[in-house]
Amino acid sequence: MLLGWTRQSKRFERDALPHLPAVYRMARQLVGAEAADDLVQETFLRAWKYFDTFDSATNCRAWLFRILRNVWISRWRKSRLELPIPETEEEQIEPYYDWEDEFLRDEMSAETERALSELPADYRLAILLADVEDLTYEEIARVTECPIGTVMSRLNRGRKMLARLIRTYAESKGCNPQPEDFVRRRS
């Protein structure tokens, strides 16, 4: 039995713990800096508890994100009010026509962070998993427990919404402090 624990500890240290920074930055975007530590700790506790069910041939980071999402939903998200994204619009992809504009600059980190926090949580999660963590659509679908078509739709809509929000905040910084009112919710 002790040998089993030792072997599991070594595997956990090798496969799971190196992803702690990735889990942390994702947790921070989901619940904010103050609660991120607790979310990370609970995620890893649960991962440790069920580590014998993890298939080494699969992506451990994606597995951890899935646990993170489940913990987040059960502990944090349920306690907040959030309007569901209409299911009828889930699978639609809109072409990129009206959003392209030369406004994105490196120093827009604050605006980007604010815009991310204003995105619907499912859009934000899809964007973070794709753009920050470089997960494939299939892996994102598995983490978020939805069809690949929904992942595509969330990325498409989320990126457009994000770009508009960043632009709005950048423009409102000096001349117009009132952001547009198309998205207001946080989670």
Binding site: L17, L20, R28, A33, D37, E102, S109, R159
Partner: protein, 206 residues
């Protein structure tokens, strides 16, 4: 052959590397010739890069890394707190057996347990009545209480085994009448072999 509309519809899949190899070739063929679509791709990539840089700037504090490590893998490596606690409890339990009152209580408890475990059966047993305490004093130097509490009769059978006579109405005389000590008696009753005890229904002095 892809046109601008096609490209704009699959822009996400293209920048995310999710297009099939054939579709990627077609998209790149169009992008090589179309400046506005190439700009659209560049802007989308720029958005992705800004998100990555913004989110990636945060790192966990070393204390969090330690906390996670402590609550998972290190939990089984550090000395377990329950081991010394269990050892102390066991030591106290063993030590307490040397205290006379506790030792007596434990003995009584074991005796009760023995009766519960024993298979009793009807028996007729013949032997000599002896005082158990006097015998123990003679054999082991046991501090007998006979001068103050009186003798306590037990039965010694021919094979040398000493049987404890259980208290009861029928056994009163056998246990407490010191005049019967040294006499041979035949006891009718029940025998508790594992507890080395006899329950007396009747007896006769031979």
């Amino acid at each position: 052959m892809m046109d601008c509309k096609d490209i704009r519809e699959i822009l996400d899949l293209y920048v995310d590397g999710e297009l099939s190899p054939e579709a990627t070739v077609q998209a790149e063929t169009h992008l090589a010739e179309c400046v506005p679509c190439r700009s659209a791709v560049a802007r989308l990539n720029r958005l992705r890069q800004i998100v990555k840089t913004t989110v990636g700037q945060y790192q966990p504090m070393p204390q969090l890394v330690d906390r996670v490590r402590q609550s998972t893998i290190s939990r089984w490596r550090r000395p377990r707190t329950w081991v010394p606690v269990a050892a102390t409890v066991l030591l106290i339990a063993v030590m307490s057996l040397f205290a006379p009152q506790i030792r007596g209580a434990v003995a009584n408890g074991l005796e009760v347990a023995a009766f519960h475990l024993d298979d009793s059966r009807a028996t007729v047993m013949e032997g000599k009545l002896l005082c158990r305490d006097c015998l123990l004093k003679e054999e082991y130097g046991y501090h007998a209480m006979c001068p103050t509490r009186g003798h306590h009769g037990s039965l010694q059978t021919r094979d040398g085994k000493i049987w404890h006579i259980l208290d009861g109405e029928a056994s009163e005389e056998l246990i407490h009448n010191s005049k019967l000590l040294g006499r041979t008696v035949r006891i009718h009753g029940r025998c508790f072999r594992r507890a080395s005890s006899i329950e007396v229904d009747s007896y006769e002095v031979l």
